[in-house]
Symmetry: C2
Subunit: 261 residues, 2 copies
């Protein structure tokens, strides 16, 4: 299972044992067809999903019938984590491209939480980062123009695609319809279209089919209402790579729980 760990590795240098625990966290690989919905809002959930390949949207349906896409998930993301708190799916997960996921039952997450204090800390930090990213989305959606919001979106995807090597010369595949982008930015697809075409006309971006090129990244960045966010690498308050902890022996509760599978 080749779960991309760049997310965690941006936070701290992992020990080989930790890498191993994370790589073996998920169950078998599951292939998702394009368009497949593999979690529906409201249903009872028993675990989270790791995204290994492809793009997946996380959307919530509003009472009005509109839907808002909270986030597009890219490889390396942990899906449906907020749902574990209430035991029911908070969001609907839809594969927008062909995708590969891996399931992690809550009980297994519990074993991880109980036995790996340092990884639990990293999970805590990762959750805070997701929170930060939502704050930025909120700032853009709530108090910025369509143009600024679109700029932020493009810059964000660019930044998140870069560590997995999917960006060449500021150019990348964007397998999202304007309809989906609209639900993501809280705009009408019609208005997304007009805004995109304006940016194109002004030479900010170029498009060819599903491929998009950011011609003036600097201009787009300064258009974006929020600054880029860089997590601090291995902050000094992070629990140390304890020799005892690194083998998963930290909590007395279930020493080898994570080694069983």
């Amino acid at each position: 299972l080749n779960y991309p760990l760049h997310r965690f590795e941006a936070l701290a240098k992992l020990t080989p044992a930790e890498v191993d625990v994370l790589r073996r966290l998920g169950g078998g690989l599951v292939t998702r067809r394009r368009g497949e919905i593999f979690q529906r809002e409201g249903e009872v959930t028993t675990g989270i999903h790791l995204l290994l390949e492809g793009w997946v949207t996380s959307s919530v349906g509003l009472a009005s019938g509109r839907r808002l896409i909270q986030k597009v998930h890219l490889p390396g993301d942990m899906l449906a984590a907020p749902s574990m708190v209430i035991g029911r799916a908070v969001d609907t997960l839809t594969a927008v491209t062909h995708a590969v996921t891996s399931f992690v039952p809550y009980t297994r997450m519990g074993e991880l939480l109980a036995s790996q204090p340092r990884l639990t800390s990293l999970l805590f930090i990762a959750a805070q980062m997701e929170r930060l990213s939502l704050i930025d989305t909120l700032a853009a959606t709530g108090a910025a123009t369509a143009r600024e919001n679109l700029a932020r979106f493009l810059v964000d995807i660019h930044a998140r695609l870069t560590p997995i090597g999917a960006v060449v010369n500021d150019s990348f595949d964007l397998p999202l319809t304007q309809d989906v982008i609209g639900d993501l930015l809280g705009l009408t697809p019609v208005h997304v279209n007009r805004t995109v075409r304006n940016m194109q006309r002004e030479g900010l971006i170029a498009r060819d089919r599903r491929r998009i090129t950011l011609l003036n990244l600097r201009a787009l960045r300064s258009l974006s209402p929020v600054p880029p966010r860089m997590p601090e690498f291995e902050p000094d308050w992070l629990p140390p790579r304890s020799h005892r902890a690194m083998d998963g022996q930290a909590s007395g509760a279930e020493p080898d729980a994570l080694e069983r599978l």
Copy 2:
């Protein structure tokens, strides 16, 4: 230090030792005058704040000059946690009423993370809940009308004020100006006013000075575009109240780190 723990107690029954660790987490009490700004966006941060009393807003400034208030914090909240990831303040913290806080240096948070696996799990869960709350805010701000958004806001404050006993007969103090509410909902103060007055005219709410009464909670709830969220109490995957862990002895690293102060 009487840090309200209802947030954690909604998630799990705490052991006396855990209660003690949490209560002794913060340093001395700090009093904040109304209007005082005690953290500014962008400045280097060295710890988080616990809110014991009063209301505090967390806002981010946009490039356009507008500001968006991400959240109003109420007693029991942990402030500025997202900032710990990047070591700089993500948000500006402003006391909107007289308030009392207590500071927790990152190093002390690190000790907590290293020594209390179960509390770390609860912190992780709490972060996921905050994430969920942001998703709901985003849904309302991005794809709902001013009216729906305001309804959601009132219902949310009502729900969060209830566990600290600040709601009587669906009536509570709302020490926020319409200007602040506007920044919170992504609306103009003028439009907030019109929307509030409409609700009043329709008998949904009543106001007297800063006190507001939700006359028809059911109607407001159904107006809200997002459902109420109930965290699951003591989910079965949560790390158990280990006898060893409860004394803060779990990680071999620094056994008594948290007991020093």
